[in-house]
């Protein structure tokens, strides 16, 4: 089910939380939503789930507008809100049944659905406990089970892994990937590795505007600029090697890598690659090349570059 966010603006008093934001999510896509605190991630999610309505613009989920038929949209969405609010004094089973009923799961299927969710989210051993007695990780699972109970076409998860331990994070990620095979998933996070590990596509927003959009590798590529290589040559005199590298025509800057004695960081001139030339030079001089790896910018650098000014303040 496609999600189409069309020029939405949301004001909180004089503050613009969303500024003419537009994007599309296709069926079967896992979209990662990145941005510094207060960028408008949560606001966007709240708008898609019909909790708040935008001041202008429209959102359609599977062709249905959130403004015209909110109930229809809501029944297609499974939503895990930020901080995972739950009724702490309800037992897990009752809670899931309650949400299932609200989401219009048929009475005859309800018990089976609840059981299925309990198994899928690994809650079987805890299922008779009250939610308030559960640890944070288990609560998060209840939140996910709740979002999935009616087998929604669209899944919206606001920071699904906050407060979990590394094992649980990996489990939840696996679960999200599994679900994302057939459904449309939007998840927000400010943990970049998480987005990189789970998402097909990344959307970075800042101050209510989209600043980057693409697959993680595309983004990395875009931000990369000139090629940077880490070169380690295990023979020859250090300064000699440095001079030799510098004289290659494609090479722009050479610097000593500070961690290893034999390594250099080599930046190529724009639009060129110096890999081949370095290799040939080593071969010609009979030097032993131990390392030749491109240094990739990670998502973190891109994120900082794009949203820098604001998150630093």
């Amino acid at each position: 089910m496609d999600i189409n966010v069309n020029e939405i603006t949301k004001l909180y008093g004089p503050q613009k939380a969303l500024d003419n934001l537009s994007f599309k999510v296709k069926t079967g896509e896992i979209l990662g939503f990145l941005g510094p605190n207060g960028a408008g991630k949560t606001t966007t999610m709240k708008a898609i789930t019909c909790f708040i309505s935008p001041n202008s613009g429209d959102i359609t989920v599977g062709g249905v507008s959130v403004l015209q038929q909110p109930d229809k949209v809501k029944s297609n969405i499974g939503y895990l809100p930020e901080n995972n609010p739950l009724y702490l004094d309800m037992p897990i089973m009752d809670y899931l049944k309650f949400i299932g009923e609200l989401q219009g799961v048929k009475k005859s299927e309800l018990d089976n659905r609840v059981k299925e969710m309990v198994l899928k989210c690994g809650l079987n051993d805890e299922k008779h406990k009250k939610i308030g007695e559960l640890s944070k990780g288990y609560r998060q699972r209840v939140g996910l089970a709740q979002a999935l109970i009616h087998n929604p076409e669209v899944l919206i998860l606001d920071e699904p892994t906050t407060g979990l331990d590394p094992n649980q994070i990996i489990e939840i990620r696996e679960l999200i990937k599994e679900i994302g095979k057939e459904k449309t998933v939007i998840l927000s996070s400010h943990i970049l590795a998480e987005v990189e590990a789970t998402c097909d596509r990344v959307l970075i927003i800042n101050k209510g505007k989209i600043v980057a959009d693409g697959t993680p590798s595309e983004l990395r590529h875009k931000a990369q600029g000139n090629e940077v290589l880490k070169v380690a040559i295990n023979s020859g005199e250090r300064n000699e090697v440095y001079e030799a590298l510098k004289h290659i025509s494609e090479v722009d800057v050479v610097s000593f890598a500070n961690d290893e004695m034999t390594a250099f960081e080599v930046e190529s001139k724009p639009q060129t690659s110096s890999c081949e030339a370095i290799f040939k030079m080593c071969a010609a001089k009979g030097w032993y090349l131990t390392q030749l790896t491109p240094i990739e910018k990670n998502l973190e650098d891109i994120f900082r570059e794009l949203t820098g000014g604001t998150s630093a303040n």
Partner: protein, 241 residues
């Protein structure tokens, strides 16, 4: 309608799971029973007549105090824990949430009042009782409860602090319970008339006496509706800048 009932069911179950319902029932039956049967210069044996009037008199005040305690968490807790977002992102409207919650508290009151039927049976068996006025007495109690529940939910819907919700509901309640009645005597003419019309005791007494006038029903009906609509409005407020 189905959505409203799902909420009602959940909230009612919540009352019984959290002991709130039992405390309410026990204390309500205890207090009203004590004053109806045993104590004071108004109990059944003292006035020596088969009548439920002492019960209706005391129940009117007990419910007035109890209802804010029952409604205080209805919306306030949802705001505090953020579950309101969970609820409203399900296919349910603001109005359905509010009415569902209203009905759950109302049903709890209905259950408590149903448990006082043995009082009625006992009194009826010791003397001739006016069945009609008992019926209207219960009707009066239900109407005034519904009105205070609706106001209580409104009080709860404008704050995320339960204590504030409780006190606010009491303060709003005191106006209808006492203050409008008292101040109405100080004014003459139209102001006095309006104030005395706002006094809940006036309408309650007229119903329990067995006189059900449309103006009484309009009075209770409008308080209930205004309370619920105001609560809905404070939910809708999140979208108004």
């Amino acid at each position: 309608m189905k959505q409203i009932w799902i909420i009602t069911k959940k909230e009612l179950k919540g009352y019984f799971d959290s002991l709130m319902a039992y405390i309410m029932i026990v204390v309500f039956l205890g207090l009203s029973g004590f004053f109806t049967w045993l104590y004071g210069n108004n109990d059944v044996f003292f006035i020596n007549r088969a009548t439920m009037q002492p019960f209706f008199g005391i129940a009117y005040w007990t419910l007035f105090i109890f209802i804010p305690a029952l409604t205080m968490k209805q919306m306030a807790e949802e705001y505090k824990t953020g579950t309101i977002e969970l609820m409203l992102t399900k296919p349910i409207s603001d109005w359905q949430v509010v009415t569902g919650k209203f009905l759950s508290t109302f049903l709890l009151i209905v259950i408590s009042l149903a448990l006082t039927i043995p009082y009625y049976i006992s009194i009826a068996s010791i003397g001739p009782i006016d069945h009609g006025s008992v019926l209207t007495g219960y009707l009066g109690l239900l109407l005034m409860s519904a009105a205070y529940i609706s106001l209580g939910i409104f009080a709860s819907s404008i704050t995320s602090n339960q204590i504030v919700a409780f006190l606010l509901a009491l303060i709003i309640g005191i106006f209808f319970q006492i203050l409008f009645g008292i101040t109405s005597t100080a004014f003459s003419g139209i102001t006095g008339d309006v104030l005395s019309y706002m006094d809940m005791q006036y309408h309650y007494n007229s119903i329990t006496r067995g006189v059900i006038d449309s103006k009484n029903l309009v009075y209770f009906g409008s308080i209930i509706l205004i309370g619920l609509m105001a609560s809905e409005l404070s939910l809708v407020k999140r979208n108004i800048n």
